[in-house]
Structures are given as C-alpha cells and as structure tokens.
Symmetry: C2
Subunit: 179 residues, 2 copies
DNA sequence: GTTAGGTGATTCAAATTTGAACGCGCCATT
DNA sequence: AATGGCGCGTTCAAATTTGAATCACCTAAC
C-alpha cells in the first residue's frame, strides 16, 4: 500500500455525479415537502418507513438504523412529530427500555397526501431520466455497496458513531407508500 | 394526470439503494476525515474544489453553487476554515461586492495529506464494488439527472432557496485532488 | 441474589445549517 | 448624475444535528 490509486476520468464523473445528483435531488424534494406539507425530508422518510412496518410501528433504534441517522437525532425528530400528532410513542411491555414509534392515523393521512407528489418528483427528476439499464445498475451496484457498508467495513470502524451496529431485516422497503 | 405512477420493485430498489448508499458512504467519509484530519466532509470538498480551480481560488457564489450549498452556510464554513488558516479571503478589485476564497499553502498541504485516504475509501466502498458498466451507468445516468436539475426543473421552482440560479462552468471537476 | 456488561433511549451543550433580511456596490435607464 | 433593479456576501435568530455523557433496564455469569 503505497501510491494511491486515483480515480480515472470516468470514475471521477461517476463519483461527482453521484454526490451532486443526490444533493440536488434532495434539495428539490425537501423544498417541495416543506412548502406543501410542512415536512422535512427526514420526517417524510420516518412516515414512510413506519407506514411499511408491521402494525405501523418500529423501535427507535431500528428506525434510526433504517434511516442511517443517529439515535439522538431521531429522538429529536420523533419529539417534533409527536407534538404535531403524526406519531405516537409506545413503550414495550416485555422490554421496559424499548420505545416504539407508532404512526398515527393523522400521520398516515398526511403521508397519503404527500406521497404522490413526492414519488412523482423522484420519478421525474431521477427514475424517468434513467434508462432501464441504468436503473438496474443503480439497484444492483449501489445495493451491493450499501449492503457491504451496512455490514462491516472490511477492517473496522463503526458507522453510526453510537454504539449501534445496525443489524436486523435490512433495507427491505415494504410495499406501502415508502420510497 | 390522475393516479400516481408508483415505483415498481426495481425502481424502488434503485431509489433506496441510492439514498442509503449515499448516507452510509458519507458517514464513513466524514468519520474518517474528522478523526484523521479534523475536517468535515464539506470542508474537504471546499479544499478539493479550490485546489482544482484556476489560481486555487473561487468566488463564494460559484463555490456555493458547485457544492450545492447555501450561501450563508458557505460563509460560515469559510469563516471556520479561515480561522484554521486553510483558506483566505480576497476581495476583487474590479467588483467590490465579490469575495474570493483562496486556498492557502497550508490548506493545500492538508488536502494533499487527506486526499489519498479519502479517495481510497471512496474507491474501496463504492467504485471498486461496482462493475465497469455500473460505473458508467452512474456517470451517465446520474450525470444527466444532475445536469437537468442544475438547469431548470421542467416547470419552475428554484433549487438553492437563495436567489441563485447556479450557472457557470458546471461540475467539470478539474484534474487535481478533487473527487 | 447479586453483580458486571451491555443495550436502548434520552439529555445536554456545542457546532452547524437554514432562510429571511440586510447593506452595499454594479449597471442600465432616465 | 440620479434612480431603481439586482446580484453578492454577510448577518441573525431559529431549527436541527452531533457526539459524548447519562440513566434505566435486561441478561448472563457468578
């Protein structure tokens, strides 16, 4: 391990396109969600994840892991959304430490109103711009990369900075209004 | 335009892989940069962009645009980095309003130390996980998506929330230590 | 039964980000 | 040479994020 293997032109294009596209797209999505529904991107994702979960509820840690967010950050956001009546906290009888975030009917209703426009924008700005081959490449290539990073980075170094290693059912986004 | 065209399974996989991979990857990169060099991801990108610019300097607005960041956010970060001696501000003689952010020798030196590990990680966690075809698909597909979003979103809606429309040379990452 | 080791979630202060408002200099019209 | 429209960078308060404690609780070994 001496001289670094720099990125060639195409790899560089891929890398900048990846980060730039993400930043640009996320900006659009957030803007739209905020303007039309007063939701942040993270809040939308929380609603979406919960909507696709059994009984529309998920434990804080699972949710944090699925969203690739810190636990404390999630605590904050769930607090905000609870104030807004979009979610509710429920403690687990079997494990007194655990807390479930539960999607309320109101939260579900809001998600149902927000989802069409959101998905529409994702489609318009990303999916429909890509060829079917490119869509498959994203799904396969980035899926594989995600899987490896979520598991264990070759040598060491924990991802979440909290003590969590993130295991469980993985990113198997269910059928609902997620995405 | 009535019923939403939802994402099919593969499109959904692509979309979640895209966001998840980005979040995971960015987390790794930030962690490493912070631990080894005390840099945030944004700060690294600022150094990289400046290093690849003519005379190692860029106007605040250009830089903000290239980074897909808000102007005020950049003002803050440049302030931090100036304190740390990594960049310097220079005012433009011909246009008194304009401010250039200039990479200092110290900033350049830090970038040169940080770049190998950073690029190495990008390669290990993303590039080398992908097939050459997938790399090309990212470059082409996401490049096209970025281009469209940077330009004008079909109908309306400004991206940067500031008054900026972001024009100029576009994301043509120069030869240096960027990426 | 108790204790050591973790895990799950929250708390807290500090750092950062956001977006609107501001001040100022450029420039095309009058 | 005045005037108004604008683009540029900064400022400011509020919202959010971060990461290191902290507290409570479960679990397995003593």
């Amino acid at each position: 391990m001496g001289h670094t293997r720099w990125l060639n032109e195409e790899e560089k294009r891929a890398w900048t396109a990846f980060t730039t596209a993400h930043a640009l797209l996320y900006r659009h999505l957030e803007q739209r969600l905020k303007r039309d529904f007063g939701l942040s991107g993270l809040q939308y994702e929380i609603l979406a994840r919960l909507s696709g979960a059994p009984d529309r509820e998920l434990r804080m840690a699972e949710l944090a892991c699925a969203l690739v967010n810190s636990k404390s950050g999630l605590t904050y956001q769930i607090g905000q959304m609870e104030k807004a009546g979009l979610v509710r906290r429920r403690s687990c009888p079997s494990d007194e430490r655990a807390v479930y975030a539960v999607l309320t009917d109101e939260g579900m209703a809001l998600l149902e109103r927000a989802a069409p426009g959101h998905v529409g924008l994702v489609r318009e700005l990303l999916i429909d711009v890509l060829t079917p081959d490119q869509v498959r490449a994203l799904a396969d290539g980035l899926g594989e990369a995600s899987r490896r990073m979520a598991a264990g980075p070759g040598e060491a170094s924990p991802p979440v900075a909290d003590g969590t290693t993130c295991s469980g059912p993985g990113p198997e986004v269910a059928a609902g209004l997620d995405a």
